[in-house]
């Protein structure tokens, strides 16, 4: 969809409301997410306990579809054993 003629759909408004609901005063940005995502993905694969310092990566992944897409692709690689 191109933004020249916007008309928000119900799912888009829902997405906006959801983003607002998830907003915290302190959040990881995309660079911080990239810095920690390999560690987070390995924790997810092994079920190890997560360091509290990087726990807010989960919140960033809920808010940022691009970082989430890259994280899911990383899991795919790890699951393939590559």
């Amino acid at each position: 969809m191109k933004p020249q003629n916007p008309s928000l759909t119900a799912p888009q408004v829902k997405g906006l409301v959801q983003m607002i609901g998830l907003t915290r005063d302190r959040e990881f940005n995309c660079s911080e997410c990239l810095e920690h995502v390999s560690e987070y993905a390995e924790h997810q694969m092994t079920g190890q306990e997560l360091d509290a310092a990087i726990a807010c990566i989960e919140q960033h992944l809920k808010l940022c579809p691009e970082c989430r897409e890259e994280y899911e692709a990383l899991l795919k690689i790890l699951r393939a054993g590559a």
Binding site: S7, T23, S31, L34, E66, I77
Partner: protein, 204 residues
């Protein structure tokens, strides 16, 4: 030798040029293999593109070797950078025809009733109140750039593209969006719309 047994950062910095070149080649192979797996559901991505992504990613990884802190396997860290490189390029191509003017104009229209109809979440009174408050908050609390950035996000425009159009870094762009979300949230709270109200609007 397994991945765990190789000290990648040390080998990639080796004084012995033959050893270093071998490590660089091996890492390129690891990245290319990972990209093939990650993007195997995208038939539009050619082998030549995968090789370009792997090469670009390799250069980024080598440039950032000092930032690797050993909290994960080196190859997992490098794969994350490779995926970031590849997806950024794939997203950029999809949205390259959108201009800043178009994005800003569209963003300004976000507060208009036609864009956010009262009943967009359904005719329920609470939802209508939420949408009305949201429209006012968007109009009164956000800057044109914030409106444009939020609209771009909602329309699944790549974040790199949004920040490129707005002329900001990715981190500055994230802060722009974060400040916008916080302003909207605070305004909704001031209007008496609670977290529970927001949650209930999810069940469309």
């Amino acid at each position: 030798m397994t991945d765990e047994e190789i000290n990648w950062p040390e080998t990639l910095r080796a004084q012995d040029s033959g050893q270093q070149a071998a490590a660089v080649d091996a890492l390129r192979g690891v990245l290319l293999n990972g990209l093939r797996i990650a993007l195997n559901n995208r038939p539009e991505v050619s082998e030549a593109q995968l090789e370009d992504f792997a090469q670009d990613a390799l250069l980024r990884v080598l440039d950032r070797l000092d930032q690797f802190q050993g909290r994960s396997r080196f190859t997992t860290w490098a794969q994350a950078i490779a995926l970031n490189t590849a997806f950024a390029e794939l997203r950029r191509k999809r949205w390259r025809d959108v201009s800043l003017d178009a994005l800003l104009t569209a963003g300004d229209q976000m507060a208009e009733p036609a864009i956010l109809p009262d009943d967009v979440l359904g005719g329920d009174e609470d939802r209508t109140r939420l949408v009305n408050a949201l429209r006012r908050a968007i109009a009164e609390e956000l800057t044109p750039k914030q409106r444009a950035a939020i609209l771009g996000e909602l329309q699944e425009m790549p974040f790199n593209q949004i920040t490129a159009l707005l002329g900001t870094s990715r981190n500055a762009g994230y802060k722009l969006l974060h400040d916008a979300r916080r302003a909207l949230k605070n305004r909704l709270l001031e209007a008496g719309i609670t977290g529970t109200d927001i949650q209930s609007a999810f069940t469309l």
